[in-house]
Symmetry: C2
Subunit: 330 residues, 2 copies
């Protein structure tokens, strides 16, 4: 059985052209770009909490990195470097090789170098820290939304949790949705290019990891206002619930729940002043990524807790939802 | 029961004067010092592998951070920022409060801000990434040792593993050693000031986490030479094994094993040209930290694997040891 150090060398020590010194010393050495600020984020993924123990290791490798890069995207930062620490119950070389394949595929796709890490024995756990760069004053923080700003979301949030429900046998999605939804779940695409394009345009941003309403609530709370989402403006999941005689009301309801409260999508939810509407449409066209204007930031109602998110039906009546997102300890 | 977000806010979101933006957004924002390089290190600590499940959480908090700062010390970097990710089996608020107390005590002692993190449910696991700064070309890498350089070690390596053996009931240390050794195990002091003082003086450095011989071997291997350690030059653990009729040969042997192969000390092992001897003595005096010159870098013997470490007895004869350090999967 290979020792810890040999393992690290074999699978995770790859060339790191963007680093002064890569893995293998006490620290990595990095030269930041003069004048830039660093954006730093850390995520820990635990088997059984964030992914199923039998998840395909290649998909897991991709996703473990993608969710961290998504936080950089949500900040409008350009990804530069990552570290990877992992606890593994045993040395399973085929598993490690596949995990590394997915991880480095994502690293290559988004131009980051894996500059350091740690490997240890223990219940399966992956912890990644990603470092990006952003020009001072340009970062997309959560606290910059203003009353009257429009609320936007990219792509089609909800697909990932629909995919999970399908995999768990809670629902049988009609064709061609299983492939789409499982793809969104297993291989999320951090919206790096969108985050960079929104520098100087968006007033606030967050990535949709806990669920659209919950994450939008974080923007609203931090910005000291409230959010009103219009149900009819959510991306249409065309044909998912069928129509006419084949209309499936349960599936329609599930899809709506997933759109509003399903996590794991890693789309960006952002706010921008009304006069940026055209610029945002231009970004959507350039990136070939649908961007949906789903509502508006409003003054927080008196007596309501800060950060209230309201969902309005076509008649403008508030709709109630049971839950707003995922909280590991709630 | 408090939710995840409330927990994070309550215990880990403290003022971060050194950050542009601290915890609570998608990323922390940091302004690096112009002209400096970043030194970045990550360590994962797993319950049952790196610490006992019933470890005092305050000590654990201190140590979890200290071992990362030790990697910055070994690089000669000045600590600036850290992120903390933790998986917890349940919300045990008194445990979290004590852990945070120890963690922030260490952060305050060494002047770092906790700028971000992640909390999740899972088997107890702590992952810390520390970021420091160092002037370009000044970092104490592992690969700079030259044949003829002297080998140095700080403090008294071996105490931590003697303390562990005592706690595990494998040995009963005589007074006053239990307090000293358990203190070294539970509250290691990263040698930050030493690492900074060695900028421009040491040719290579590493912190003793796996064991003196193993860690020195990393320097030798990376530097393409070998190391010869003289047994008589190791720090004396005066009176530990008694003398005369009370002399305990087993304890003497254990102490030697711990000095050479016991991990978890976080002293610095470094090499320096002979003409820096006086400068190093001056550093020892200024820092009130004993620094021991324990041997010399030598040419790697032909046919030997790179990085050979030899231990010589007073007659210059090589002594054999069973193991050279800790490898989680070996």
């Amino acid at each position: 059985m290979a020792g810890e150090f040999a393992l690290i060398d074999k699978y995770f020590a790859r060339p790191t052209p963007s680093a002064v010194l890569g893995p293998g010393d006490d620290c990595a050495l990095l030269q930041p770009t003069p004048g830039k600020q660093l954006a730093v984020t850390t995520d820990m993924l635990v088997s059984g909490t964030h992914f199923l123990p039998d998840t395909d290791p290649k998909n897991l490798g991709w996703k473990a990195l993608a969710v961290n890069l998504s936080d950089l995207a949500a900040m409008g930062a350009k990804p530069r470097w990552v570290t990877l620490a992992g606890a593994l119950p045993a040395v399973d070389e085929p598993w490690i090789a596949k995990f590394a394949e997915g991880f480095f595929a994502c690293a290559a796709e988004y131009g980051v170098d894996v500059v350091g890490g740690d490997t240890t024995k223990g219940p399966l756990n992956l912890c990644i820290t990603a470092i990006g760069e952003v020009a001072p004053g340009q970062a997309l923080r959560r606290d910059g939304a203003k009353v009257g700003d429009q609320i936007w979301v990219s792509g089609r949030p909800g697909l990932a949790s629909l995919g999970l429900a399908h995999l768990q046998g809670k629902v049988k999605l009609p064709e061609p949705w299983p492939r789409l939804c499982i793809g969104a779940l297993e291989k999320p695409r951090p919206r790096i290019a969108l985050g960079l394009a929104l520098n100087g345009i968006a007033s606030a941003a967050i990535d949709v990891s806990d669920g659209l309403l919950a994450d939008l609530g974080h923007i609203a709370e931090r910005s000291g206002c409230a959010a009103a989402v219009q149900l009819v403006k959510l991306p249409r999941l065309r044909d998912l619930a069928g129509s006419g005689e084949s209309y499936n009301a349960d599936l329609r309801r599930l899809a709506l729940d997933c759109q509003l409260a399903g996590g794991d999508d890693y789309e960006l939810c952002f706010t921008a002043p009304y006069d940026q509407h055209l610029a945002i449409s231009r970004i959507a066209a350039e990136l070939e990524l649908p961007l949906w204007c789903i509502g508006e930031m409003v003054a927080n109602p008196e007596a309501a807790p800060p950060g209230t998110v309201t969902v309005l039906d076509p008649e403008g009546v508030a709709v109630e939802f049971d839950h707003k997102g995922f909280d590991h300890f709630a």
